[in-house]
Subunit: 293 residues, 2 copies
């Protein structure tokens, strides 16, 4: 054996259960940072490279759990987590379970009842950037567990803690992904529209990105309005937005591209206006999403 990271006594031992692409990246980041790292996977062959890098392959789930007080689980879904851990619940006592498996907030809340030291996490990064600061990791659950293991979790990327409700990490995850999908869809629709006038997507992108920078200012202002529960039209009324939305629908139709996406945006605004928000700011649209308008 030429591998000696386990000799770094300053780093707490960690166990990683589940060696898909992401689990492998997590284990590799712990190894790189000098953590004694134990791994387990249903198919042990997946561990070969990690073992070559210094990981210890546990012969069983129970052995994997016993090896470390910090146990990170990254499986395909919540059912796989239950299946893997249910026979070993007694082993979880006194350990911190960090569940980085994708799932819903309700699944996170259910798993949190298995151990007092539970952290649920979501990873906003591809496996290739794990271990770098641009990998965002969202955590929620036990504040004590996060405080105790924060340094270790920071090895994986930039770790943020959202609060005691174990479901928060999952909720933030999908809410942020939703922001990404909404922004990207709108960019792609705009690129399709401008493409019909022979504008390259790479010509549009810098203006879109500069404009998105301005939109973050609107987001901050509207967040204030939402928390105050009042939506004064300091910039433009929903009625004014509706007028220009109709232009986007018309331009899309004239250009022969999809009209469904802008028509949906228009319909949401019309619903808010029907709900009494013609003269309020764009923030009032949240009441449509809440089902109140």
């Amino acid at each position: 054996m030429t591998n000696t990271p386990n000799a770094d006594l300053g780093n707490e031992p960690v166990t990683v259960i589940g060696l898909g692409l992401m689990g492998t990246a997590l284990a590799a980041a712990f190894l790189d940072a000098g953590h004694p790292t134990t791994v387990w996977n249903r198919t042990p062959a997946k561990a070969v490279e990690l073992v070559a890098q210094g990981a210890v392959l546990a012969p069983s789930t129970a052995d994997a759990l016993r090896a470390s007080s910090l146990v990170v689980v990254c499986l395909s879904d919540a059912a796989s987590v239950r299946e893997a851990l249910a026979p070993h619940r007694a082993e979880l006592v006194g350990r911190t379970l960090v569940n980085l498996t994708s799932g819903t907030s309700d699944e996170a809340r259910e798993l949190s009842t298995w151990t007092g030291d539970y952290l649920d996490g979501a990873i906003m990064a591809i496996p290739g950037v794990i271990g770098r600061p641009e990998a965002f990791l969202l955590f929620s659950g036990s504040p004590e567990a996060f405080g105790k293991h924060r340094d270790s979790l920071d090895r994986l990327g930039s770790a943020t803690f959202f609060g005691e409700d174990p479901g928060l990490a999952s909720l933030y995850d999908v809410a942020l992904l939703g922001v990404m999908w909404g922004t990207l869809n709108a960019f792609l629709h705009g690129a399709a529209l401008l493409g019909t006038a022979k504008v390259d997507a790479t010509a549009f992108a810098p203006f879109a990105n500069q404009w998105v920078g301005s939109v973050t200012g609107f987001i901050s202002a509207y967040a204030d309005q939402i928390d105050r529960g009042a939506y004064p039209a300091e910039d433009a009324t929903l009625e004014t937005h509706l007028g220009t939305m109709k232009y986007l629908v018309r331009e899309s139709a004239a250009a022969g591209i999809d009209t469904d996406w802008p028509a949906r945006i228009q319909a949401l605004t019309e619903r808010a206006i029907d709900g009494g928000h013609a003269g309020t700011s764009y923030a009032s649209l949240i009441e449509v999403f809440r089902g109140q308008a």
Copy 2:
């Protein structure tokens, strides 16, 4: 008369036709910058304050046109522009017509046939910021006209020229507004979702805005892919996105908020996947918007 801006011979005379909120702001910005400014409005009473600031109120549209070689029109719609200017087309010869009236690209292209010196413009700002650099003004049409009057147009905000097709300013306008609506809707939906877990919108906003910063990186990368016509899944496949989209729909349903917005995003992705894009990047969704998938 105590007003002397007209005495500043370094600034070219300008005419502003249409004194709604925006037209008034445009005329005021020209006056502030020291341009001899002539105004016309169907209801002359709207000009009272501008005249007090030094503007000259023309007794007729023809007089207004004759007063300046740079004529800025800001009316309610293209029909109003045609109605106001059609009787005076002969007066447009030798002048630059800058049409800042909201409208479609086809309306801009039609009006551009009225004079060789035509610029169509779109204003991405509220009247209150006109004259400041954060007011973005988009122009397209005659490059010579833009070159000749660029300094004057920069008095109104930050002026960008997009090209010779007079329709481009309108297209960029709605495409950029579309990016705003898509981003804001997604933020408001996410705020509604997190609100059910007692997360304030002002707590969510900084994370959303930080993440939007990352999304601009995806936009740049995807723009390259679109122009190359190839969508390698360097980050994540559409299939992977689809998996997490389903979580957003499930979370929304469980929280009792609107599921239609995320379901629409999911449906678009499913259409792209049905079109053969399961293993390509998110950029391939542009083919759905183009009507090709």
